[in-house]
Structure formats: C-alpha cells, structure tokens
C-alpha cells in the first residue's frame, strides 16, 4: 500500500489556506471598519 503523502499534504494545505484565508479576511475587514469609524472624529 503506497502512502500517498502528497494527498495528505494537499488536504492539510487546502484546509490551512482556506481557514487562514478566512482569518485574514476577518482581520482586513476589521481594519477597514476601524478606519471608517475613526474618520469622522478627526478634524480636517
């Protein structure tokens, strides 16, 4: 029985990319909102 390590790595890599990508999206959106919330208070 071959061990098919490439499939194992592919599965874990896809999971990491998807979940990591979602986490980064959350961080980015949070930064956007922060910036928008902060803007009105700053005097021009």
């Amino acid at each position: 029985m071959p061990d098919n390590w490439s499939f194992v790595i592919a599965a874990y890599a896809i999971a990491a990319v998807a979940l990591g990508g979602y986490w980064r999206r959350l961080v980015r959106l949070e930064r956007d909102v922060e910036r928008r919330n902060a803007r009105p208070r700053r005097p021009r």
């Binding site: 029985m1 071959p2 061990d3 098919n4 390590w5 499939f7 194992v8 592919a10 599965a11 874990y12 896809i14 999971a15 998807a18 979940l19 979602y22 986490w23 959350l26 959106l29 949070e30 909102v33 922060e34 928008r36 919330n37």
Partner: protein, 216 residues
C-alpha cells in the same frame, strides 16, 4: 476574551497536528493517507454545529428580535460555509487514493454538497437585502427551513447503502473498536477545530456589530 479563544484554538491546532502526525499510528489498510481524517471529520462536525447554531439563533431572533442573535446566525452561517468547503475539499482528496474517485454521487456526498449550496444561498439572500431588520427576518426564516434538511443529511448514511463509511466515533450500539491513539488524535482535533469555530464566530459577530454601527 476573543483573544484568549484565539490563542487556545491555535494551541489546540498545534497539539492536534502533533497528535495527527506523530502520536497516531499509520493505519494498516490505507497507510498514511488515513491521516486526512483528522482534518476531514472535525471540519465536518464543525459544519454541522455551525448550521445547528444558525437554526437556534434564527428561532431566538424571531422570538426575541435580539440583534445579537441575528449577528450570531449570520456569523455562524458564514463560518459554517467555510468549514463545509474544507470538508468537501479534504474529503475529495481523501477519496481519490482510497475509493479511486474525486467525487461520486453517493448519498452522503450529495447531501453535504446540497447543504453547502443551501447556505451559500442564505448568505446571498443576506447580501441582497439592504434593510437590516427585514434581512434578518428573511434570513431567520430561511435558516430554519434549511436546518430542517440537516437531519436528512446526517441520517442518510444509515438509510442508504453508500460508499461513504458510517461515522467512526458515534456508532450506534457498541463502543468504537479503534485503537486509543487514533481516537485520542481525533478527539483532540475535534476540540481544536471547535475552538477555532468559536473564535471565528466571536470575531465575526464583533465585526458585524461594528459594521452595523458604522453604517448607522
């Protein structure tokens, strides 16, 4: 609070990886490929959990009209869709070397795919309504209807003769016969991914609150 959850999840995932690759033995028939189980099964469990949370939060929203419940439902649906996607992808990668096919129209696979599409539609509906209150109401109704299909999905493996093996852990009648290290690795990963889910939902819920605040 959220930060603590995040670090706990990260620690859990690291331990889970160690368990999956170091502690758990190589499986006899499948070889190392079987290690995909430690990501496939926990993500599937989290997907079910997420949609169950959508169901309960939807009911709570319709009964109490609490904005928190609505945000929880929205966040949980989004995270659930992400995890369902990972479940399908990892299952497909596991299926190729073991069953010999990336995809087959077996009952379990088909119903999970339907679940995925259903909740994508849920997110689409939320995106199409600008009024917050009405969007929340419609989404709650859809969340309830969609959740009524989940039992169909879960029990399908017992009803239908399928290629997909029955669940390993919660086998009806009788304890699991799997060796302890495999069970332990699976349980640790289940806990870790559940923590990750909680962290994502907490963070997404907070973000939704801020977004709504910014728009108001």
């Amino acid at each position: 609070m959220t930060r603590v959850l995040g670090w706990l999840a990260a620690a859990g995932l690291v331990i889970g990886l160690v368990m999956a690759f170091v502690i758990a033995p190589r499986e006899v028939t499948q070889g190392h490929v079987q290690r995909i189980m430690y990501v496939h099964v926990p993500t599937a469990w989290v997907a079910y959990l997420a949609f169950a949370v959508v169901f309960v939060a939807s009911i709570v929203y319709l009964a109490r009209r609490s904005a928190t419940a609505d945000r929880l439902a929205h966040a949980s649906a989004e995270v659930g869709v992400v995890f369902t996607g990972v479940t399908i992808a990892s299952g497909s990668i596991w299926g190729k070397p073991t069953w010999g096919t990336w995809w087959t129209w077996d009952a379990r696979l088909t119903s999970v795919a339907i679940l995925f599409i259903m909740y994508l539609g849920y997110l689409l509906l939320r995106g199409m309504i600008d009024e917050r209150e009405r969007g929340a109401r419609y989404a709650a109704v859809l969340g309830i209807i969609a959740a009524l299909d989940i039992p169909l999905v879960h029990f399908s493996v017992y009803w239908w003769r399928t290629l997909h093996q029955p669940p390993s852990l919660m086998k009806p009648g009788g304890a699991s016969t799997m060796p302890a290290p495999i069970v332990a690795a699976l349980l640790v990963n289940l806990a870790a991914f559940t923590l990750l889910y909680a962290y994502f939902v907490a963070r997404r819920t907070r973000l939704l609150a801020r977004q709504q605040q910014a728009l108001a």
